[in-house]
Symmetry: C2
Subunit: 389 residues, 2 copies
Amino acid sequence: MMRSMKAVTCRKGELEVADLPTPVLERGHLLLEVVRCGICGSDLHARHHADAMAEAAATAGYDHAMRLEDEVVLGHEFCGEVVDVGPRTSRKIRPGTLVVSMPLVRVQGAVHPIGLSPQAPGAYAEQVVVQQALTMPVPNGLSAESAALTEPMAVGLHAVRRGEVRRGQVAVVIGCGPIGLAVVSMLKASGVRTVIASDFSPGRRALAESCGADIVVDPATESPYDSMDSHGYHTSATSLFDLAVGSMEKLQRLPLPWWHVMRVAEAVGAMPSGPVVFECVGVPGVIDQIIASAPLVSRVVVVGVCMGEDQLRPSIAINKEIDLRFVLGYTPKEFHESLQLLAEGKVDGRPLLTGTVGLEGVENAFDALGDPERHAKILIDPSSGVTAP
Amino acid sequence: MMRSMKAVTCRKGELEVADLPTPVLERGHLLLEVVRCGICGSDLHARHHADAMAEAAATAGYDHAMRLEDEVVLGHEFCGEVVDVGPRTSRKIRPGTLVVSMPLVRVQGAVHPIGLSPQAPGAYAEQVVVQQALTMPVPNGLSAESAALTEPMAVGLHAVRRGEVRRGQVAVVIGCGPIGLAVVSMLKASGVRTVIASDFSPGRRALAESCGADIVVDPATESPYDSMDSHGYHTSATSLFDLAVGSMEKLQRLPLPWWHVMRVAEAVGAMPSGPVVFECVGVPGVIDQIIASAPLVSRVVVVGVCMGEDQLRPSIAINKEIDLRFVLGYTPKEFHESLQLLAEGKVDGRPLLTGTVGLEGVENAFDALGDPERHAKILIDPSSGVTAP
């Protein structure tokens, strides 16, 4: 057992490779030797904007998220091999097993997000402490590279589930970063027939196609909603008023007394249906833009995390009966399903993988991720000496 | 048949009783003699802020909403007797029948909202033109006073349906104006066991109790969410992280191998559930306040119409997995159900009725509605000479 380990620390926006003591395990913990850890957009954001993230988490009830002045080890998308087991902890999973874990751990009684809390160092490191209860062996000989995508793919799966997309309903994915691409992948794995993906970057649009998008759109030249009429949705050219009157006029032409007509109306009843739109950008103004441009009765799943205040026009959302469903993470069940879907080959995350670096290369990888034409998901292999992705 | 009629016109914020020509009927129209017409909060709003409302409607696809400079006859919550039938129009409903109608009418091909469009004068008048296809006889000898509440009650029913409230789920109604009270009434008619209503006004809280609210709260002294823990919901003291870890730790204590545990997790799976919150205020900032203070996974139905821009913090909504469902009006089916529920005595709108005026009293009624202690819903009886509610 190592007494110290190499890790990348982050404090006040500075990344540094440091020697840290091997973590102490509590009851319920496992120690993993990290095999691969993905660099997440949240990590790039946390590096400079951790304080705003911590404020939002505190308002929602979690008071211990990392602050800029904390020393934190980032990294919450990882897989590793079990190398040690905490005191009085179930040994259901054998040492040496390749596992993934939901990035949450209980430390001195309180639950912390691994890689986003000073109390729970993440997997930009040779070793990481995880909660045995949230740890799952990697099945079917799935590669460590693919297994490390369990976490972002679970975010996509959760978003799709919360969107309650029917197979025949059109899904529109706005923004094709890794999370947008995970949403595209999970929509196709769920059997959704028409997935439209929109991104300004040609590279990202090509990745969206690799992930299964049926139509890709450059929002600089066309709207992802342009083809909606042909799918039976109602773009802003038609109002809910017209739909209500039109449907009742049709029914009234039936040779029936009015109360029979009302019975038929009750049977056909209900609201028109719109597409499901996934907001995977997370920049101020995007939600309002979607509200203003999406068809009537669109369901908007907000996956992109926009920090700070955002403006929108509720009166337009009301006129169009828009749903906004904000989503965070995934359930343990969805995390497990994501792993299974990867292991069974029903989703393939490999198109996202654009590079691998060692711990010394993390800073360069952060820079490289600024170019969407070249990179989507970069993995860290702590045993590697590669310094540029 | 009258060749002219008295009506209250509204132009540039001025209300005036005027003689207007009897409307010309098109195919599909009925002419009603107005028996009662409710004064709606939207009317008070439209009087001074029609331009902002028209902008929002235009963005959603409806270009002909009233502007301040238009001369409009307000009034969209009405019942009346059929007195004439348009050319080549179904005579399914006999002259003399007391009816209600959805306030939408097709004029020269385009659908307009009755009482909120210069092309579709409303029922602050002796007569009003309606669409036969959207008109329903008042059954069971229901009084005209109660029948005139079909429309606001349908708004409440639609909001409750879109909220998908389960009977055992707690519903919280923020704001007890007429629409909040309609929501309270429809929640109770739907069998929802616990309805908490919140309003600063003691008079409105008393009305909420009359409409069936189980608990009323003065938000100046307590939060409507204070009792949520006792209902099994998770207020901001607990985060989604804790819930995920806690549930998996419990399962892991079962004497089962990990893959069995995951199967159990899939069975119990899914997300925790929160209450359903109805935003019936419609003032900037209220949505954000609800997002910040409601329990985790709350579903927020936005019924109050906030004009213009509003600010909210998406990151808090994301951390708590909030749903925002914006709603407008009702379907023809819901309008009919609302009428049936009133006629069968399953909802009783009479507690809301706080006054009746003639056309000459509309201006005074608008003023009186500024005092929530004295008034909730004032009806217009065009045959009455009463000038003060």
